[in-house]
């Protein structure tokens, strides 16, 4: 069984060699050379330093295209015209599945035809030199954003290529993404990634790591997300990571979102070792968007106001074209500027909302229950405990496709639009906490004059794309379509 222990040097070396052997560009990686490249970079490209020393929330979009020159242009555009403080490089789907050969074909086809045959930047195929050209060509720190369960080769190449921030984690890039991902194996893969980041850190190149907070992006109760962030943070810290950005995806209730971000920061700082610098990232709404740019701007606006009140260290912005998939660079930049204008105007004034501390207490109590259960399941070991807690459902993620998860808990909004557990499944929560959730949903049921049921869940999943926060029954119908919900 996997254990939360630091990967030994010889083991690291063995895995590194084996992983680098799986694709030709792996040969380009040379650690000493990589350190020298990082040292040559201007201080304003140091991701961890820029993020950790900022005085207000920094904005970062998502963006990735196949070709290097186009990726450079895209990032320059988002930096200059969108005002992005931090930049992304989103990796293509083939790379996420470790299908580097298919990514290579897609890249070649893109080069030949000009039409993008990949949905992101195939960093492994571009190799260390390609990554370095990207890093040197753009005037802001850049993060690798992906969704790759086994990101070992991607990490080896991109960190050697000059990236100083790397998204993902063994739970957050596995449980919400795929059906057949072995969780224990994925933890081992990420121990390698984190150990590599730790090694760079020990040599003076602080690599920022960012577990993916939104998970399935679909009504995830804050305590579940926070527990997973803390666990991934602990696993990373063991491997030597010292700059950790814990994530959280907006649910749309301002009080709950602000409370969650405060709880995330507090629990992150409490659970993680003192030598780790904890920052937080807030993702604008990750669920279904309205099929209308004007309405989408309204959803983005609520995220901006929430960010202004919660003041996370970083905000990942959405674009008004979210509904239709990958946005144009203009729409991507527009999402940044809409967020900036509203966030700045709202940050310049006091906006103290009632009820945040009470909600935060609730979230923290729940999160502690979940983290405690993980440690108990592992007899004190967080790695082993995570695998077992997911097996029993003591830790679970709503709407997770993974067979490694129990998949028994179901969320719904309460009468105030906060995300509660309609069905706690086997989550390791106190009876009292479970009763609080049930009571809140009962109150909603009374308001709506219907019994609490999966109808609420179905309606809630579609609510924001339909122009509402809560999926209230309309007319005689209590269910509505759910098929295009996720």
């Amino acid at each position: 069984m996997v254990r939360d222990e630091r990967l030994a040097s010889d083991e690291l070396r063995r895995i590194d060699e084996s992983v680098r052997g799986t694709y030709p560009t792996g040969d380009e990686v040379d650690f000493e050379d990589a350190l020298a490249f990082h040292d040559s970079l201007a201080p304003e490209k140091s991701f961890a330093t820029v993020l950790e020393s900022a005085t207000g929330p920094l904005l970062q979009p998502r963006a990735g295209v196949a070709r290097l020159d186009e990726q450079i242009d895209l990032l320059a555009f988002l930096h200059e015209r969108g005002g992005a403080d931090l930049l992304p490089t989103t990796i293509d789907s083939y790379t996420r599945d470790n299908e580097y050969g298919k990514a290579s074909t897609g890249l070649e086809r893109t080069r030949e035809t000009g039409a993008d045959a990949l949905n992101g930047f195939p960093a492994v195929n571009h190799g260390v030199e390609g990554c370095r050209e990207l890093i040197t060509s753009v005037d802001a720190p850049i993060e690798v954003r992906h969704g790759t369960p086994d990101a070992r080769l991607l990490a080896a190449i991109t960190l050697a290529g000059g990236f100083q921030s790397f998204e993902g984690g063994p739970i957050s890039y596995n449980i919400p993404y795929t059906k057949r991902g072995n969780l224990a194996e994925t933890i081992e893969h990420w121990q390698f990634v984190d150990r590599l980041a730790g090694l760079y850190t020990e040599h003076g190149v602080r690599i920022n790591r960012e577990p993916f907070g939104p998970l399935t992006g679909t009504l995830v109760p804050p305590s579940i997300a926070i527990a997973i962030m803390v666990i991934e943070g602990l696993l990373a810290a063991t491997q030597g990571v010292r700059s950790l950005t814990l994530g959280y995806g907006q649910v749309g209730n301002v009080v709950q979102d602000v409370a969650a971000l405060r709880a995330l920061r507090a629990l992150g700082e409490e659970y993680l070792p003192d030598e780790v610098t904890v920052t937080t990232v807030f993702h604008e709404w990750m669920g279904g968007f309205p099929p209308d740019e004007a309405r989408a701007n309204g959803v983005i606006g609520l995220g901006a106001v929430t960010a202004a009140i919660a003041r996370p260290d970083k905000v990942i912005t959405k674009s008004p074209q979210e509904f239709q998939g990958v946005p144009t660079k203009e729409a991507n930049a527009a999402g940044l500027r809409t967020t900036r204008q509203l966030m700045d105007m709202a940050m310049e004034q006091r906006l103290d909302i009632d009820g945040i501390e009470a909600e935060r207490d609730l979230i923290e109590r729940e999160t502690r229950c979940l983290i405690d259960a993980v440690f108990e399941h592992g007899d004190g070991d967080v790695a082993a405990g995570t695998v077992r807690a997911f097996e029993t459902g003591a830790l679970d993620v709503p709407f997770a496709p993974s067979e490694s998860a129990n998949g028994a808990c179901l969320p719904a909004r309460d009468d105030d639009g906060r995300v509660r557990l309609f069905d706690p499944g086997d989550l390791a929560l106190d009876d009292e906490l479970v009763e609080i959730h049930a009571a809140r949903l009962e109150r909603r049921a009374e308001t709506e004059d219907r019994s609490t049921s999966f109808h609420m869940v179905a309606d809630d999943v579609d609510a924001i794309s339909n122009g509402r926060l809560i999926g209230r029954p309309t007319d005689a119908d209590g269910s509505g379509g759910v098929s295009d919900a996720d």
């Binding site: 709407f399 219907r450 869940v457 209590g478 996720d486």
Partner: protein, 146 residues
Amino acid sequence: MPTTVVLGVIGSDAHVVGVTILERALEGAEFDVINLGVQSSQAEFVDAAAAHDAEAILVSSLYGHAEQDCAGLHDRLEDAGVDAVTYIGGNLSVGQDDFEKTRATFETLGFDRVFDPESGPTEAIAALRRDLQLNATESERLRVSS
């Protein structure tokens, strides 16, 4: 004796929300549900239906490749001796604008019913009741009274 239904998302599709809610709705209506989850192959549908003597198979697909994913499924079911009604629902074709054409396509493939993206669990359950000649249970009638 409860009626057994198999459901799942076919092909490489990882959209899980709809099928999760459908599972709960079917359980609420007192069906025995075998939920294969996302990214399920034709073989998994066939094996599960045969092993559990399912009376209905509900296929979900939301990523627009349902036609390729389902081609040949009904031959396999017949080969395995499965005698179940088959439904499919979701976003069944990329850029669909004429649902009646989509419905005809999937009926030709052998599906007994084809549901459009606006359909909810309620419609699927009502159809199962009609096709399998079942009555709503007492608890279920209370549950859907909202």
